[in-house]
């Protein structure tokens, strides 16, 4: 048995302590700090009421702060917004709220049911995060820290993981959380035909053994480096056995912060607070939660203004800016939630010639785009210029790398050196994606910039349902292609390299047959140490950022507007989704 101590991602503590104050970036504050925070909050509110519009914007996430005018500092900047203490702001109002119900409106939940094991895509994550709890959960900084687990060990052959579990955790039905609940979840997933979205987990995990109520072993076929991140939420064994699989899907019971109450398909999902939730620092301070599905942005705005909605997700910059003059509302900016890439797709065809296989051409195309201007105008400042193909939260991200500068004259010279002064290409894209707003307009803007250095580009925009299968087919798309990557998915370097964009095996790859990157992906897959995986990720991304098989064009923020019933809002760094609600404080 080898103990692993990976400070980057997975913390281990065999002594089974209570969750440390501040572990999740919340709640580690003294009474005095709380009072001081409350005073600051009151002063802030007064200033907001009297001051200019910009005070309504709050930057949130791991690097959160109530930062006046923070949005205006972002365009063109290559640095992550500087922040101080989101938690100071938010923790001040943790006492029980007078507001009983908060309604959170989202454009879609894509919900089939409310079962935490059916979180098939990001939009449904809020439902999963309401009902259940992970063994290792993300804190505000996006780090995976012990939650239901207190630590783990890994066998020498790397095929057996032994997790130690927290005591004193109750499910919604009052039963105690034990190792059996993890086995129940894993058995359910391995035996169920419907869990196709967990195919990778099913392909690698063979089963679970209960050693004692606080110890469980997970067995895998091959070394499974990202098991901790991929582990499913435990569910109440007693309840599951009592009601069966079909009923459980409709009314699940686990040990998350919210108990399920009702679901009206495509309308809303209602919850009431799990008062016995084990982590007081993340326990909501209001009693009832409603996720309302309101597809149309104008209806969400109307709902906010009429008071039927307390928190609205999925707002465009123009709409959110409309709330700047309204003192009862706050615009909360969650930075770095998604990046729009312009991929040099022709590198997927090793046997076919293309000007995009020349690094000088790729660099010229990048230098031709004034990305700071795009951030400022198209995204109203709620975006920044990315320096790398890795999102900032991906282990291996290189903070020292500088953004490729906007230099149209230099771009022209590079094209001339490459003998491509009369370059003509097709830029493919989808018409819309929830990850990066206005992606088609972004593509049109890029084409306009390329036109200024003499590159003739033709836009080919199709629906996402058509575009993504074309991408995977790797015989339809030619030229360059725009795609959006949700940052919160890339919590492991392999997800960026092997699961998404940059290796021969990745379904949405943009480079096929590159030995260096494929070898690095294999090494990362076989590496069980998170710190070493991050180091390998750094090697890979440095190479990718030099080669520019993908041009990271713009990194956008998600905008969340909160109404008068919400004291403060914060979420996991780079998380665009409406859950978890652990860091929302009701009035």
């Amino acid at each position: 048995m080898a103990d692993h101590d990976d400070p980057v991602l997975y913390h281990h503590d065999e002594s089974m302590p209570p969750i440390e104050p501040g572990t999740f970036g919340f709640g580690g504050l003294s009474r005095r700090t709380l009072l001081a925070g409350g005073g600051a909050l009151a002063l802030g509110a007064l200033l907001a009421a009297c001051g200019d519009d910009s005070t309504a914007t709050t930057t949130t996430g791991a690097t959160t702060t109530a930062a006046p005018t923070s949005a205006n500092t972002i365009p063109g900047s290559t640095a992550t917004p500087t922040t101080t203490s989101a938690t100071t702001t938010t923790a001040a109002a943790r006492p029980e709220a007078k507001t009983e119900t908060l309604t959170i409106a989202v454009p879609s939940l894509q919900e089939a049911n409310v079962d935490p094991h059916f979180a098939t895509g990001g939009l449904i994550f809020p439902l999963r995060d309401a009902i259940g709890e992970f063994l290792y959960a993300q804190n505000l900084k996006g780090q995976f820290v012990p939650s239901l687990a207190t630590g783990y060990t890994l066998s020498d052959d790397k095929l057996k993981w032994t997790f130690k579990l927290r005591t004193g955790v109750k499910h919604h039905d009052g039963t105690e959380f034990t190792a059996t609940d993890i086995k129940t979840s894993i058995d359910r997933i391995l035996q169920g035909a419907d869990f196709t979205h967990l195919a990778n987990f099913k392909a690698q995990v063979t089963g679970a053994n209960v050693v004692d109520p606080q110890t469980v072993e997970i067995l895998t076929k091959t070394p499974y480096a990202t098991l901790v991140v991929d582990m499913p939420m435990p569910i109440s064994t007693e309840y599951f056995k009592k009601v069966g699989d079909a009923e459980f899907r409709k009314k699940p019971v686990a040990c998350g912060p919210w108990k399920f109450v009702s679901q009206e398909l495509n309308q809303n999902v209602k919850y009431e607070r799990h008062d016995a939730y084990f982590d007081p620092a993340r326990r909501p301070n209001w009693k009832k939660l409603v996720y309302a599905i309101v597809p149309e942005e104008s209806a969400r705005v109307a709902g906010l203004k009429t008071g039927t909605i307390d928190v609205a997700f999925g707002l465009t910059a123009t709409t959110a800016d409309g709330f700047k003059s309204e003192s009862n509302f706050k615009i909360n900016e969650v930075p770095n939630t998604g990046t729009g890439f312009c991929m040099m797709y022709d590198n997927n065809y090793p046997d076919q010639p293309s000007p995009l296989k020349d690094q000088k051409v790729r660099m010229a195309l990048m230098m031709a785009i004034d990305r700071a201007a795009i951030a400022k105008t198209l995204y109203k400042g709620y975006a920044r210029v990315p320096t790398s193909n890795f999102p900032t939260i991906t282990p291996g991200f290189n903070p020292d790398r500088k953004a490729v500068p906007y230099d149209p004259d230099g771009a022209k010279k590079l094209l001339a050196e490459a003998g491509q002064s009369n370059l003509s290409i097709t830029l493919n894209t989808y018409t819309a994606t929830s990850t990066v707003p206005d992606i088609q307009k972004l593509a049109e803007t890029i084409i306009a910039f390329w036109g200024q250095i003499g590159v003739k580009a033709t836009l080919n925009a199709v629906e996402a349902a058509t575009f993504l299968p074309q991408w995977r087919a790797k015989n339809v798309i030619k030229g360059a292609a725009m795609i959006a990557g949700p940052s919160s998915f890339y919590v492991e370097p392999i997800r960026m390299l092997g699961n998404s964009f940059f290796s021969s095996r990745a379904p949405y790859t943009t480079i096929t047959g590159d030995k260096k990157i494929d070898d690095l992906v294999d090494q990362i897959n076989a590496e069980m140490d998170a710190t070493k995986r991050a180091a390998l990720g750094r090697q890979a991304v440095d190479y990718l950022d030099d080669q520019l098989f993908g041009l990271p064009i713009i990194t956008v923020s998600s905008l969340v507007v909160t109404g008068p019933n919400v004291v403060s809002f914060a979420t996991i760094e780079a998380n665009p989704y409406a859950g978890p609600t652990s860091w929302i404080v009701a009035k």
């Binding site: 967990l198 195919a199 495509n266 599905i293 597809p295 104008s298 209806a299 203004k305």
Partner: protein, 312 residues
């Protein structure tokens, strides 16, 4: 008349079969659904297993015949994204769309026919000008824009109605008005012109000369003018039941339109097929009823159905 109805029924079944076939072929041509059900890093054997489970590894013709047999039995298959029976899903959404469509239809017919008749009785009057203006406005303002205006004024500013959400009471008012505005305008214009035409006919002038009461005159005129109005109303009703996607989205109304949008985004083609089939069935049924109503409203149609020659 029975022969006439049978012929129309046969045509309706033919239309449904053609639509079912086209939808089946188009949905298969749009890509591999198994890709949508597995994560990006799933092994290839998992994909093959899913294709086998869904029957996607069978020859296309076998899939087609199996699909048609299921449809006839009312089995629309499983939703890939919702992971439930498509029929169950549609049973939840359809009543909500029908409620909205019926309310919008009631609004459109009540006001459209009334304004049209009153405008026709006094052509050139201020009321006629107002009616024509409203009709022009109703036909030219897109429903999404009208909906936003109604929400801003009646929900946000006045607070009289909810801004969005499903419900039978006040929740229904703004979506029904938004959905019914266009058909109201069309019905107003058509009713006005049809009534004016009938009012100019000799038999109507004769009734007027005899001093028949205004109520009797309107009843008589309406029946004679009803054929084009009923035809248009039938088409509009079908369109309201099957084409409320924008209004449902605008008001977060959880009907067939929302299900269709979600299914299209997820390439959940069993649901898409189901929605199209149900909507087509509704449309075809309404048109069938409209055709049958011709026979009831106009004796000449009945006589033609019996093979009796009529002078026209």
């Amino acid at each position: 008349m029975p022969r006439y109805i049978l012929a129309r029924l046969g045509q309706a079944v033919l239309v449904l079969w053609v639509v079912a076939t086209v939808v089946f072929l188009l949905s298969r041509a749009s890509g591999d659904v198994a890709d949508l059900l597995i994560p990006q890093d799933a092994p290839p054997e998992t994909k093959a297993q899913i294709e086998a489970n869904l029957g996607l590894d069978r020859p296309l013709f076998t899939q087609y015949t199996s699909y048609l047999a299921d449809v006839v039995r009312g089995d629309l298959g499983q939703s890939f994204s919702y992971r439930t029976e498509v029929a169950t899903l549609l049973k939840t959404a359809l009543p909500k769309t029908l409620q909205l469509g019926a309310a919008a239809f009631l609004f459109a017919v009540t006001f459209g026919v009334s304004i049209g008749v009153l405008s026709a009785l006094k052509p050139g009057s201020w009321f006629d000008s107002l009616g024509k203006g409203l009709a022009l406005l109703g036909q030219s303002v897109p429903s999404f824009f009208l909906g936003i205006l109604l929400v801003l004024f009646f929900a946000v500013r006045m607070g009289w109605f909810p801004a969005f959400g499903y419900g039978i009471g006040t929740n229904l008012v703004l979506p029904a008005v938004t959905l019914g505005a266009y058909p109201l305008a069309s019905l107003t214009r058509l009713t006005r012109s049809a009534v004016i035409e009938v009012l100019r006919k000799d038999h109507t002038l004769f009734m007027r000369a005899k001093g028949v009461s205004m109520v009797s005159l309107i009843v008589h005129t309406l029946r004679n003018a009803s054929l084009p109005v009923v035809t248009l109303a039938g088409i509009q009703l079908g369109a309201m039941f099957s084409g409320a996607v924008i209004v449902e989205t605008l008001y977060a109304w959880p009907g067939m339109g929302q299900v269709a949008i979600q299914a299209i985004n997820a390439r959940d083609y069993n649901v898409v097929q189901g929605v199209v089939l149900v909507n087509t069935t509704i449309f075809v049924t309404i048109l069938l009823l409209v055709d049958i109503s011709y026979g009831l409203l106009d004796p000449r149609v009945r006589r033609r159905g019996r093979g009796v020659a009529t002078a026209s």
